[in-house]
């Protein structure tokens, strides 16, 4: 015990009180906080979805089949994320990169769908300024979109690290934590999608 070459933090392999890695606990706490962030925005949306005197209401502009498809795309990305983690745990770096890239691509597809959808809505007169309903809708969905975008950046960074050989099998937890974040963003989208598009107003 006396000679410890392991710094107290951020280093793997140090004994912790729970046996869990520090990053994992921090990630859970952070995601808990994010949950309330989205919770408050979803509540605002529920309060405001019918509040539009001028301009269209949300229900007038939604294209549910289109959004269902892009939601499905995002859901599939959780699957590819799981496969990426499994690959690096096996030490299969080629597959790891493939699945990470696939996840990022699915995420980008989702974001493109969101941009397309926003463009259509704006053309139809449903904007952030048109009504409280519009404000609540766009702020909620674009915060989610920003989260997906950050996730994509993290995934691409992992691919770059892997290509430079900086993502050895021993660092599979890094992939795991990015995955945790990614799954969280997916789950939040399921809730948002249900609340916005499926629950009748």
């Amino acid at each position: 015990m006396a000679v410890e070459h392991v710094p107290p933090a951020e280093a793997g392999g140090h004994a912790t009180s729970t046996g869990l890695d520090n990053v994992k606990i921090a990630m859970w706490a952070f995601l808990g906080s994010e949950f309330l962030l989205f919770g408050a925005m979803i509540s605002t949306y529920l309060l405001y979805r019918n509040r539009a005197v001028t301009g269209p209401k949300p229900a007038d502009v939604y294209d549910i089949p289109f959004t269902s498809v892009s939601s499905f795309v995002l859901l599939m990305s959780s699957l590819t994320m799981v496969l990426a983690l499994a690959a690096i745990q096996r030490g299969d770096h080629h597959k790891t990169r493939v699945w990470l890239l696939a996840t990022a691509l699915l995420g980008m597809t989702f974001i493109s769908g969101q941009i397309y959808e926003f463009t259509i809505f704006v053309q139809e007169g449903f904007t952030v300024r048109s009504s409280p309903a519009g404000s609540a809708f766009f702020v909620l969905t674009s915060f989610h979109g920003a989260h997906v975008t950050i996730g994509i950046l993290m995934l691409l960074s992992l691919v770059a690290m892997s290509l430079r050989g900086a993502l050895p099998q021993s660092r599979h937890t890094t992939v795991e934590y990015v995955g945790l974040y990614w799954h969280f963003v997916d789950i939040i989208w399921i809730i948002i999608f249900t609340v916005i598009y499926l629950v009748p107003s």
């Binding site: 520090n22 605002t44 300024r129 009504s131």
Partner: protein, 626 residues
């Protein structure tokens, strides 16, 4: 992870290694140094907030005061409130979390040292950003709770700065909370079970939970305000907007915030009373569980800030009842503190005096708080000086007295020097007298009907006398703070050397040298009991009296007296880093860019932050030194 080749780099990107001087502070990741920086910065803001308070009081000293314009008055009371809450009490609490909590747990540092440095720099950045608004004479002027829709419509940049500044401070607090939570969950020394943690650590723990779950709700409200002001969204401005959405979101954060402010002080006092009574804390588990209960119940009472809004009788009754219930765990704590004092051999040292002052003032503040729970009373009192009296008794009489108790108590550990007792006592008595002189009259003024945020009051309303008394009191408080600074200056050179354990303490921080070495514990301690250190020093004889452990046995029991300090056995601590500072510098730049609608500047700030975070993620936490 660490390779020699990295350390040999001698480019501009080499890791900083300075151990002294300004750069060593700018790049430090040591939780103790960060704790000191939090404390010093909070003290600077305390002086600023105090000067604002004095200006307010000068304006109100006489009827029809002419010291300030109405506009300046609005800016001053708003900035005073924001400063005291977000830039003084919260960061002073964080100073102790940073410095003491890891040591009390028997850890060498927090879970994420660089993230910790980032929290500090983001806090400083947020504070500087807020205060920069004074230079354009457009400081926030919508009150500390910034009620929308008014705050959307206020002209100038003030409320935009308010929203952005609090978002930055929220980022700082959230990452700090995640860091501290992880530290408490995961970094405890062997044997330090949850029910062996010092009460201060427990209260820290509850506070971090509150921060993690309460701040995001405020963040959402702030973004809505910000977007309404800058992008033209309609969260508050439209005829169909809900006029009390802001209030619900704000107080869902704001009430837990009250406990975020007071629980650290409660924790500090719960550490001090046993030490200066030579008795264990009466009912340790009860104190812990009442703290947890307060944490949970803090959520259920937010709408008691909104009785006068007209939520309807059912909602008002429900929130009145829940508010009365939350007084119960608080009362339990007071009972435990008194039980700790009961029959103890009490030493009235300065930390003890401030702790007792805390209990007394907090009881007064708590009692006037319960009167707001009675809805008809609240209709009468709300937005009068009675409320102002109430929250100053809780926040100043409570939080600030408790935090000063902590400063006097832990000063010798942090600096190695004792503060002067005589000057300390003078500080205490001046502050106690000045405090009551200032705020007790507010109760009377409030009941007489003087409205909160009154910029001038007419002659012959019967407000003159008590307002003058209050202003005199405020200057007595200012004098007391000056005595504190005098004490600091006086003892810096000539103070008595403290030694490792000047108060005959009970917890782990007193086992290591004062000031502690960078690695805290040369050897990680093993904990066998609550108040482990105390049990290594004292045993009970047959009659149940405390007697010191015989000297020989003490040696055998381990490092009871000389503690766990000692030589550096080749311990590696995380390396210093530029990255937290760089990442944080971007935040106020983004703020200025958005405030002045210079979006290129906001993008520059964003790029700086992003680059800092990226470089940070790629740099290893430790580098081999040669």
């Amino acid at each position: 992870m660490t390779t020699a080749s990295v350390a040999q780099r001698s480019s501009a990107f080499a890791r900083p290694t300075a151990k002294t001087g300004v750069w060593s502070w700018m790049t430090t990741v040591d939780h103790k140094r960060i704790g000191i920086m939090y404390g010093v910065t909070a003290m600077v803001f305390f002086v600023l907030g105090g000067v604002e308070a004095l200006l307010i009081r000068l304006q109100l000293a006489t009827p029809e005061g002419q010291v300030l314009s109405a506009d300046q008055y609005n800016q001053l009371f708003t900035m005073h409130g924001i400063t005291m809450i977000f830039l003084v009490v919260m960061p002073l609490g964080a100073a102790f979390f940073n410095y003491m909590m890891p040591i009390m747990l028997g850890a060498r540092d927090v879970a994420f040292p660089r993230l910790n440095a980032f929290s500090y720099w983001a806090f400083l950045g947020g504070g500087i950003f807020m205060y920069s608004s004074f230079f354009i004479n457009q400081a926030p002027d919508g009150g500390w709770f910034g009620y929308a829709p008014l705050s959307v419509k206020l002209p100038g940049h003030g409320m935009t700065v308010y929203a952005l500044g609090l978002i930055i401070l929220g980022i700082s607090s959230t990452v700090a909370a995640v860091n501290f939570l992880t530290t408490i969950v995961n970094m405890r020394a062997p044997g330090m079970s949850l029910m062996r943690m010092p009460v201060f650590v427990w209260m820290t723990f509850v506070v971090q939970f509150l921060l993690v779950f309460a701040l995001p709700v405020l963040t959402v409200a702030l973004f809505q305000l910000l977007f309404d002001r800058t992008l033209g969204t309609q969260f508050f401005g439209d005829s169909t907007s809900n006029p009390i959405l802001w209030q619900h979101l704000f107080w869902l954060f704001g009430h837990p915030e009250v406990y975020i402010l007071i629980l650290p002080a409660m924790g500090i006092v719960s550490e001090i009373l046993p030490v200066f009574s030579k008795k264990p804390l009466f009912g340790y588990p009860v104190v812990v569980f009442s703290g947890i209960a307060i944490g949970f119940m803090g959520w259920g009472v937010w709408a008691h800030h909104m009785f006068a809004v007209g939520l309807g009788p059912v909602a008002n009754t429900a929130f009145a009842l829940s508010t009365m219930f939350i007084a119960v765990p608080t009362g339990v704590k007071i009972f435990n503190w008194i039980g700790t004092l009961w029959g103890g051999s009490i030493r009235f040292k300065t930390p003890m005096l401030f702790s007792l002052g805390f209990i007394a003032m907090f009881i007064i503040g708590g009692l006037s708080g319960v009167t707001h729970a009675i809805v008809p009373h609240d209709y009468q009192q709300t937005d009068t000086y009675y409320i102002v009296a109430h929250f100053h008794y809780v926040l100043f009489g409570g939080a600030i007295f408790g935090l000063f108790a902590g400063i006097y108590y832990w000063w010798p550990k942090i600096t190695g020097k004792l503060l002067d007792e005589r000057v300390g006592r003078l500080h205490f008595w001046l502050m106690l007298i000045g405090f009551n002189l200032t705020f007790a009259p507010f109760h009377i003024l409030g009941l007489q009907g003087m409205a909160r945020r009154t910029y001038q009051y007419p002659k012959n309303y019967g407000f003159d006398f008590w307002n003058l008394v209050s202003t005199v009191g405020a200057f007595v408080i200012a004098l007391s703070i000056l005595t504190f600074f005098w004490n600091v200056i006086k003892t810096r050179k000539r103070g008595e050397t403290a030694g490792a354990d000047p108060w005959d303490g009970r917890t782990l921080e007193w086992t290591i040298p004062s000031p502690p070495p960078e690695y805290n514990f040369a050897e990680i301690p093993v904990v066998h009991a609550l108040d482990d250190f105390w049990h290594r020093k004292y045993v009970e004889d047959k009659e149940g009296r405390l007697v010191p452990v015989p000297a020989g046995a003490q040696e055998a029991a381990g490092h009871a007296t000389e503690g766990y300090g000692g030589d550096d056995h080749g311990i590696h601590m995380p390396s210093q880093s530029y990255m937290p500072l760089i990442a944080a510098i971007g935040l106020p730049i983004v703020g200025w860019g958005i405030t002045f609608e210079q979006y290129w500047l906001a993008i520059v700030g964003g790029v700086v932050t992003f680059a800092g975070l990226y470089a940070w993620a790629l740099e290893p936490s430790t580098e081999e030194l040669h």
